[in-house]
Each structure stands twice: as C-alpha cells, then as structure tokens.
Symmetry: none
Subunit: 218 residues, 4 copies
DNA sequence: TATGAATGAGGTTTCATTCAT
DNA sequence: AATGAATGAAACCTCATTCAT
C-alpha cells in the first residue's frame, strides 16, 4: 500500500470511498440482474458488497438512484468508445463492415453483462425514461451513425449499390440485437452457434449491399 | 341474451365465470405491462377488472400463476396460427418472403400488445423459465421453420442463391424484433418510420438472397 | 330404503338433513382436532363432509356455533351416562372402585376422541366459557359425585378409613386425566404402558384408602 | 446507569437490544395466552411491547419462531432447577415427599404463568412437536426421576412398602396436573380450595405408600 | 336445500428508509 | 463514514361470510 500512504490522507480516504461505492454498484448490478429492479433487496446488495445495511443509502439516497447509477456506469464506458470513424482506413468497405459487425457481436451477443443491461433496460425502461434516453444518446445514435457511415462509404466508393438502407442502416444491427436477447433468454437450453450465425449474417448483408454484375465496370 | 337463457342455469353461470376470468386476465395484462411483474398490485388488477380484491386469488392461487396465465393466453393464440405453409401458392418466392415479412411486422412491430408481451418475457424470463420455454416452442420454433422453408424454397426453385443462411434463417427476423423493442422503448420520443424501415429491410434481404447473374428476365 | 320410503316425505327429508348435519359435525371435529379452532378452515370441513362450501353456514350461522355444536355433541353422550350409582351392587367397595377406575381409563386415556375433546376444551376454553361450563356440569360434577360416593360408601361400610379425601374425591381421578393428556401429546414418542399404569394407580389408591390393621377384623 | 456507561457503546447497544427482545417475548406470551397461537396478532404483540409493528419480525423471522421462543424461554428456567436430589437430607422420606409435592403445587397449580404454558402446549403441541419434545426432556423426565427416586428411597429405608408404583411414580403427580388445568379452566367459577386439596392428596399418597403393620415406630 | 362465485376485512410478511450511535 | 436497530407503509394471501341462482 505504499502508493496509498504516499497520498494525502483526505485524498486517500476519498479514494477508498470511491472504491466502496464501486463495490456497492457492482453488487447492486448483480442483484438487479438476478431479481429485477423491484425484486432486488437493498440488504442483499449490502451483504454482497460486504457493508452494513445502511451504507447503500448513504451513497444513494433512493433505490431508484442506485439503479440509475448502476446502469449509467455500465452503459457509458461500454459504448462511448464506439469508433464512428472506422472509415479512417483505406480497407475495402466490406472488410470495414465485417470487422465492425464482428465487434458488435463480441460486445453484445457474446457479453453476458451487456445482455443483462439490455434486459434491465427493456424491463424497466418505461419507469426510467431518463435511462432510456441516455441509452439512445450514448448508444443507439452512435450505432446508427456507424452503420450509416459504412453504408454511405461503400456506395460512394462504388462498392455497394444504391439502397434505401442508408436511411435505416441500423437494420443491419437487428440480428445482433436478436442474438443478444436470444442468448440471454434461451442461451441455456437452446444456445446459438454464434460463429456460424455471424457468418450467415455477414453473407446476407454483404450480398445484399454489393453492386450486382458490374463489379468489373466500375 | 337469448342464447344464454336457452341454457341451463349452472352452465350459464359457468360461462359467466369464464368471462369474469377473462376480464381479470385482461386487467392483469394491463397492470403487468404498466408496472412490471413485481410492481403490479393485485388490488389494482381487481379494481381495473371491476371485481373485489379477493377474486383474482379465487381464480389464480398465486400472483405468479396469474402472470403465467396472462402471458400464456396471449402468446398462444397470437402465434400458433403462423402459416408455415406460405409456400403453398405458386407465387415467386420473393413475393412469399415479402408478404410474410410484412405480416411479421404487422403482428409484432406494429402491435403494442405483442411488444408488451415481449418486454415482459425479456424482463421476467429468468424467473419464469416455463414461459420462456413456452415461447420457444410456440413461437420461435415456428418462426424458424417458416424462414427456413422460404429460403429453401427459393433455392430449390432457382430464385435464391445457395447461402449458409438456410442454417440460421431467423436472422432475417432480427430487424423485425429490433423494431418491436425499439417501438416499445423509444417509440414515443424517437419513433420509427416503420413503412420505410420495412422497405429497406426487404431491399436488403431480397438482394442478399437473389441469384446473381441469372437475372435474364430482368 | 324401505324404511325410509315408508315415511312421509317431509319427515324423510328432515331425517336426511339431520344426517347431513351429522356428517358436517363429524368432519368439523376432525378438522378442529387436526388444526385447532382458528386453524380449521370451513371449506376443508365442507370438502371432508362431501358438501359444498356454503352448506356448513346454512346449518351453523357462524364458525363458533359449529365449534360449540361439535363439542357439545361429543361431550354429552360420552359422559352423561356416567353411572353415579355404581353403589347399587353389594360388591366390596374396592371392587366398585377398581371397576369404576378402569372404566374411566377406558373412556378417556384409551379413547383418542375423548382426548381430543379435552385438548380442544383446554385450548379454547377461555374463548368459549359456555363450553367450559357445560363440561363442568355434564362431566366434572358427575365425576366428583361418583368418586365421593364411592369413598363415602367405603367408609360407611368400614372398608375404607376416615379420610379428608371425601372432600376432594376427584383427586383419585388425577392420574386418569394426566394419562389422557400424556397419550395425546407424548403417546407417539413416549407412549405409556397403560395397563401397568392402571395397576399401579389402583395399588396406590386402594392402599391409600383401606383401613389399617383392621384387615383381620373383616 | 453507571454500569452501562462503563461499557463500550456497541456492547451497550447490544445489551439494550437483548432487553427489547425480552420485552417482545413477554408481550407475546401475554397475547398467545389470551388468544391462542392463531388468534394472537403480531401487531398487538408489538403494541403491547411498545414497539413498531415490524420489530417482532426483526427478531423472529416467523410467528412460529416467536411462539417457540416464548415457550422455550419459560419452560427451561422454570423447571430445569428441579432438585432431583431432594434425597440428600436425612429427613424421613414422608417429609421429603410432602415438601416436594407442595413445591410442585406451588410451581404449577398456584402459578398462573405455568398453567398458561401447559395450556398452550396442550393446545398447540400437535403443530409444534419440537416443543412437546422439549417439554418431555426438560420437565417430564425430571419429574419422573424425582418421584421415582423418592419412592425408591422410602422403600430402601423401610419407610414405604414395596409397590409397583416405582415403575410409574409420576402417577403421584397426576392430581397436581389436574389441579393446574382445573384452575386454568374452572378457577374463576369453580375454584379449588388448593390447601385442602393438597392435604387430601398427601393423605392419600402417604397412606398409600407407608408400610403396613410396621407402625410401631410411630 | 344446496351450490359455489364473490366479497372484503384482516393477518403475516417484506423491505425501503430513517436515525441514534 | 459506517453501523444496524427500528419504523411503518404496503403487498400478498387467507378465509369467514354472503348471496344469486
């Protein structure tokens, strides 16, 4: 703990408090995920975090505040680094699209935590509109931008055909989302062969976007 | 009421009881949809159904039984008539696919009730595994069968190219599912232009499946 | 059914009604004995009696009425025939006492139903004072009279010594009562050897009452 | 409160908590005694103890736990000190027996609380077998041992005659038990003259046990 | 008489929240 | 900062009782 004792006491204490808060948020996520918002008990959160029953209320005045903080903390770092400029490289667009799609699957359909966030959001969204808005601005808008950008790039470079899809490029994302929910609900009894699924998805999308016949002409 | 008075009294009463049960199920669906499983109060269900507080318990021993009955009643009649033999006609497969997809959107993405069932299932699935299984057997399996059948038909008739998608034909369904959840959560503030969305989706899928080069007709 | 159809219809119906009532009382006794007054459910009584839920209320306006009727019906015929004049014979008093005591054991300590009545009375007595009074007048007073009579007879005939027991002759009954409760509570795990118990009891009482030294005279 | 302030705060708080628990147990005993197990309301217990409705549940997860704790707390200290070695002295056995019997009456037949414990045990025993067993091991076995010991001592010292009673010495206890229940149920309207009762009982037992003929000493 | 659907008071239990320490 | 006893609103559930048929 040399690094700690080297800091001024107040700052160190604040750091420890921040850690404690993080432990409570972690524990709360587990409980909410396991039992849903209403079903989760604050006492269980405290026990799981290894603190006394009253402490969660010290950091988060209400249960609803805790819930929002939990989701907020996971949503933002998970998705804000979505590179909207995958187009920076000079690679063929089909490859940009492929790698982007694989990354999406990796983050959502193959990530239990992200699935649980989605589940909680879908479940409690109507009672937590600010979280729904948050997700829209932090995640959905970014995803739409990415897919739109990729499709446009393909068209501009003559790699993809003209298509109304530029207006709703997030349609490409649909199967990713479906796979994520599928895994969360039916993964245990009727799990997906995710790799094969991804290849099929790519096969459909790339054939659906590519310019027909005129490969040579252009 | 002529039809009623023609029946023996006991039978008529049983009929009325069945109606009452239905009203309770309707009311319960509204409450569960509004507040989630744990948040819904049985007394509110009773009030909404216009019956006394104790009656829901008379028909359904536990809250969980009521919840299951509610979902079961909606899931089964909504989806069991999924025509798996859309292939009966002699129409071009692209048209079969188009009309099937539009029907899917009509039933799910444009149907508030179906969206709420999905939301409740996603939210409470982990606590009601039997409902999850029910949905799998009554809905998912049927949808997979339909999409697989259509894709195969297209390939067999030389209209679609060979594609790994036959193994995961439900990928086609992904955007339908995403649109449904989208409408349920963001419909109010960031509603979709569903018609344009559908056309884009069809555009992608049909191009993604059609046979290249062999377009002599066109 | 010849005997029945030979009666006027109204009377026959009343008889059937009386039988039904009896079946309800029997069923109610079982339930009260099994679960106590508050714990017994009227619906279970109805089911056990093979009638509809509402019928017990037709015969007995309140649950408490049913309870009283149940106990009353058992207490009275079980104990009212207590022969207070076992003294009619000319047998030695020690034999009168012996046979009376044995009869008491037979009726109480060896009779599950009588034990249950006692248990219910002890349990609910404070809330049903009229039953407690009934038991006093129908049972206790009679028993006191019997024991007093026997002891007095023994003294008068010079068989028993003078003893203050004539004032509280029911003391003789104490071990009978204790054996009954013992059987009801501990009979299953720590059952009594009732025959040996009775002999010991008789041994104590007869020696306790007999005239000392003067054995020879008689 | 000097003794308290001398302790660390946490320990003092724990001590107070223990007191509060005791107050709840006291209040619960009153309510159970007054209304029976099922009839007692936890809220009334709380009011009687002067605490909030939820506190009894904080200390005792279920009503049944509270009930068991109540009885356990009374049974054990009331009876575990039963001196099984009343034989230590050199007094004549008839005096040992007399004083022991009087003590039994004092503790049971003249003690309202002990009577209520017996009543509750008899009433609810079938639903709380562990309490019944507890009573057997903590009380009955001890009482049997005491009476057996006394009778044996009398025989060994030539004061009592040989008698089968050594096998069921608790028969001596019967009238004590009967008197206790009598007082609990009929004490109000038909109360016993307990002192006279005790003398009669002693008179019967001592004459019943004493050696015949050998009265020379006296 | 007899049925069983319907009522609603009332109980146990849970648990977010408060607060003295 | 942290603890955990204490509070009390509210929910589920039970069941005696009523009543239309």
């Amino acid at each position: 703990m040399a690094s700690r004792s080297g800091q001024p006491a107040a700052s160190r204490r604040r750091l420890e408090a921040e850690e404690r808060k993080g432990e409570i948020l972690d524990a709360a996520f587990e409980e909410f995920s396991l039992r849903g918002y209403a079903g989760a008990r604050l006492e269980d959160v405290a026990v799981r975090a290894g603190v006394a029953k009253g402490l969660p209320h010290f950091y988060f005045k209400r249960k609803s505040d805790l819930f929002c903080a939990v989701l907020r903390r996971i949503i933002i770092p998970t998705w804000t680094d979505l590179a909207e400029s995958a187009t920076a490289s000079d690679a063929p667009t089909r490859e940009v699209l492929s790698s982007t799609l694989r990354e999406m699957y990796r983050r959502l359909a193959a990530n239990k935590k992200a699935q649980e966030v989605m589940r909680l959001l879908i479940a409690e969204g109507p009672r937590f509109p600010e979280l729904v808005e948050l997700y829209y601005h932090e995640v959905l808008k970014r995803k739409i931008a990415i897919w739109t950008q990729i499709v446009k790039r393909g068209i501009q470079r003559g790699e993809f055909r003209e298509t109304p899809l530029v207006k709703h490029a997030q349609i490409i994302h649909g199967p990713v989302f479906m796979a994520a929910i599928w895994q969360a609900l039916w993964g245990k009894n009727h799990g997906l062969d995710l790799d094969a699924w991804i290849e099929s998805h790519l096969d459909l999308v790339l054939h659906g976007l590519e310019r027909k016949g005129g490969r040579t002409k252009r």
